[in-house]
Symmetry: D2
């Protein structure tokens, strides 16, 4: 039903239980011509049917799962370690948070979609197919724990086991005492402004250049999602420069 | 004496005490046509006289101070925080190391040039002139302590005080259990290969595209040094692509 | 069956599946007059039947679950915080270890007895009944994760949320890069020597003065187990002084 | 002048510059029969002259330097490591604090008396003369850095290099996000109450049983100061039990 717009609309008319409220919401937005951004890890707008609709009606869409705390740090650090070709043996991440979000995600069933979204980021950044000696056998673990004393704040603890020249082991540990809403709010504002710009500039369907803001960026069929925060930023900025008619920046020396 | 080649060579003939052994070493290299890379924080090749000589004789030079441990991490993290426009109130860094390097740098006089080299990296990355609200008043402290139990290994501890949306404070703490020589050795190899390539490709004088490897990159007069590891990497890669005749990568969406 | 020696021995003769191999092992030891120490979290010797037998035959027994890494640290820190009447809101502990032990305990079923043993230590140390304002509502979480890169070593991460005068919140974070076997081996030696001494000095049944070595110390019916490392140590030392005929130490000023 | 009361009083009359304001303050207190507690690292009441006066007039005195943050943690952890006979290779401690206290102590001259007070605590706890293999060659470093972003709060970072069975190295790292005044205030209250009690119970001169509250406890000539928080606490409690006519607690098993 999610594979073509026709079937999806048939499902809508029949009240099919396979269609979730977030999909109905997304459908309604697109039909009204309103750009749609998905900040949660649910599927929402990520089906062939809705992507087709957004393409047809010329509505920009993007998603999914805002990149705010520990995953943000991961997509900052991993490109840095990769830039220097430092190998990785393991990456252990745990989160403690005390609000309703933590309470829900502490349940292993609810955590599953989030876990996929959190685990996937290292794959494309590290290109393990190209560098199997360095990145093929990473033990990557992510967990979330409900811990009421942390209240609305969040704490991420990362332990990274890396190795350098001749296999020598090293370790990095990161403690991030952060605040979920404070990190998410400016993303909402940026996405509102840029999605509006995208619409006015003729953008249709998936906006890959907004990957910068997401843990699990949507991309065209056949493409792979970009997770490296700095490539995402370059994509964002050069797309804006292109829209403005400016020259793109390559940083090479002539 | 360091401002023109003529005066420098006069100084050499007179055994002027202002000319250090590392400068004589650099002068000899360049005269012989051998590319020169400075991995230490001393001035070495960084004078108008020697830059002039390298330009005249078509010898690639680069420097200074290999970027290996805590400063490497700093130039990975700072661009990430800046990408998301997270403000900074302070950055406190301390290092413990147990070898001869630590013993020398524990002395506050010897630490001075190193300290300048370590402190400067945040300046150009954060562009405080453009973003005074976020980055004008950073309390940035760096110290090095000789601590024999750490032996040849090194440990860096960073505490970063950042603030987000509406000024809310957050903290990041990083512990880096690293190994100096293991991080430095591959830099030596890369620089040997790339400096040789630069020479064969007609590169003369300062090679800004090798900034990727240095804490305090040399740059042409009037330019500012680039510290952002990811811009340095882009510079390195696009310069290599240019030398090969390949198309440069901009990452924008067409 | 575990409540009287008579029933237990009947069960033994009938090959009752409720009697585990570790209980048979303990029974055999005691019958032979060999002191028995239980370093694992299983019940082993901890039943009325076997305690009765040990009492009758004059065999010293002790247990259970060696106190080595994170729990050792907990019973060092908690008495310290309590000494100064610092309140506790939460204590979050996580462990990563890479050997077979970690692999088994990563499974939530296998972790259950261990978890009870790890969680119980704060109770008697903090005396929440006597200090409800400070210790009644502690959110205490303990988890173990199998993380192969850590190999035979272990890493514990603790986050403690405490509060002081007028409820002001503070935090302590502890990283313990430790080695399980290295911390356990001297305990085995001490227990062998002291259990032998206990036997020669006429000790019968549960040896509470050996609590010092256990996460979940056995104690006489009606007593509560002592977890405070420093009270355990005082108990150990003053019992030894008493056995030697020395005066016990009270540390008061006359 | 500080060695006898007679000379001290002569100095007072001559306005001798060797007599500091804090000494005059202490002298005045004692003369008035008011118990005196010294919470700062200065000498204050710690001279033969003033101890003599306090003894003569029956005034309880105690000091010096309140034990609140990092040093408190040190006297909790060190007895725990010692209890298990874990060796120490090094202990590196650094503090960042942002108030006037930090500003003053950042200056190496002002830090000197504080440093002595902070370094001394490990000596008596570890008894290096008795256990030279474990504790003779500890590299113990303590530093304080003025870091305004931390404001009135304080952060301590400790790195402990320990070794176990067969010399295997392990590490403990502690981050203490604490608040100086919140930790010091209840000490002031306790000392006021207990010093008053001491006076009413006939206590004269140095009150060793109040060592619990100090980084650098005063003790009778010939005695050594006790730093172990748990022995200090036992001393405090058993002294109180003695004053009340209660039996002292020895924790041994009969």
């Amino acid at each position: 039903m999610h594979e073509s717009l026709e079937n999806f609309e048939k499902g809508l008319r029949n009240n099919d239980p396979e269609i979730s409220p977030s999909m109905i919401y997304a459908y309604a937005c697109i039909k009204k011509g309103v750009p749609y951004c998905n900040g949660a890890p649910n599927l929402g707008v990520e089906s062939d049917a809705l992507v087709e609709l957004a393409g047809e009606l010329g509505v920009p869409i993007s998603g999914k799962d805002f990149k705010t705390g520990q995953t943000l740090m991961k997509t900052i650090l991993a490109p840095g370690l990769k830039a220097r070709m430092l190998g990785l043996e393991g990456w252990y991440s745990t989160n403690i948070l005390g609000n309703r979000d933590g309470e829900v995600l502490d349940d292993s069933e609810s955590f599953k979609t989030k876990e996929v979204s959190k685990l996937s980021v290292l794959e494309t950044i590290l290109q393990k197919d190209q560098y199997p000696d360095l990145y093929e056998n990473i033990c990557h673990k992510v967990s979330i724990n409900y811990y009421p004393p942390r209240g609305d704040n969040k704490e991420g603890w990362d332990n990274i086991d890396l190795f350098g020249w001749m296999g020598y082991p090293m370790q990095i540990k990161v403690i991030f005492l952060c605040r979920d809403s404070i990190l998410a709010a400016p993303i909402v504002l940026d996405l509102a402004l840029f999605s509006d710009l995208a619409k006015r500039a003729g953008g249709k369907g998936i906006q890959e250049w907004l990957s910068f803001y997401y843990k699990s960026p949507m991309c065209a069929r056949g493409n792979f999602p970009e997770h490296d925060l700095f490539i995402q930023q370059m994509k964002l900025k050069n797309t804006l420069r292109f829209v403005m008619g400016d020259e793109e920046i390559t940083h090479h020396e002539h």
